[in-house]
């Protein structure tokens, strides 16, 4: 059983560019959450997708947007990249968010460097 897979693993972009990161959830999971982890910090919640809709959003600007497809995979898009967007972007999948005490499974992340 493949766990959560993310692509690409590493990415270098220039300030002002746009980037798309991809995530395939663990088999059977229908909820995808995205996190940003700056160096030396804990992951920060960006947003969560369920049934192809954004259900929860953290304190991130509108430059951060996402999408969930019918097969539950998800994309994270960041527009007008800033140097401060350089971070490890983590995708986590879980079962339907209507269940409490749900364990989240994380992918290996995409390391984004903005130069």
């Amino acid at each position: 059983d493949a766990g959560v897979t993310q692509s690409p693993t590493h990415l270098i972009k220039t300030r002002g560019q746009q980037v798309t990161l991809r995530c395939s959830p663990k088999s059977g999971h229908d909820t995808v959450s995205w996190y940003q982890q700056a160096l030396g910090q804990g992951p920060q919640f960006i947003f969560q997708y369920y049934e192809e809709e954004e259900r929860q959003r953290g304190n991130f600007p509108d430059r951060f947007s996402g999408h969930q497809f019918p097969n539950y995979s998800s994309e994270l898009n960041v527009n007008a990249l800033l140097l401060g967007d350089s971070a490890l972007y983590l995708c986590a999948s879980s079962l339907s968010p209507t269940g409490m005490n749900t364990e989240a499974f994380f992918g290996q992340g995409t390391r984004l460097t903005v130069v």
Partner: protein, 113 residues
């Protein structure tokens, strides 16, 4: 924003010793989870403790939760070099019907052979 605060920020021990990490949080929770991260890569789920539980064990891991003090501790017994990693606590606040995790800054554990 960070919900949990782990203490200490860094911990260095010898193989065979026990490692204890603490986590404090601010708001009410449904559960608290501990994760491990090796070399800045993906997070591995270690253990989940519900708000109505006080202690939980999993192999060499022991987690306690004190909701009155809004704190939790993770004990790793008989540490091994392979336990070297960063450890994060994450609180699940069940916001508006959806489960989202709020992480602390983590404790970096170094276990020397």
């Amino acid at each position: 924003s960070q919900q949990g605060e782990e203490d200490p920020q860094a911990l260095s021990i010898q193989e065979g010793e026990n490692a204890t990490m603490n986590c404090s949080y601010k708001t009410s929770i449904n559960n608290l989870q501990w994760y491990r991260q090796n070399s800045g890569r993906g997070l591995v789920h270690l253990i989940l403790i519900r708000s109505n539980e006080r202690e939980k064990h999993s192999g060499r891991l022991r987690v306690t939760l004190d909701t009155s003090k809004k704190s939790s501790s993770l004990l790793i017994t008989a540490s091994r070099a392979a336990d070297t990693a960063s450890y994060f606590c994450a609180t699940d606040g069940w916001n508006s019907g959806y489960s989202t995790l709020t992480f602390g800054k983590g404790t970096m554990l170094l276990v020397s052979p």
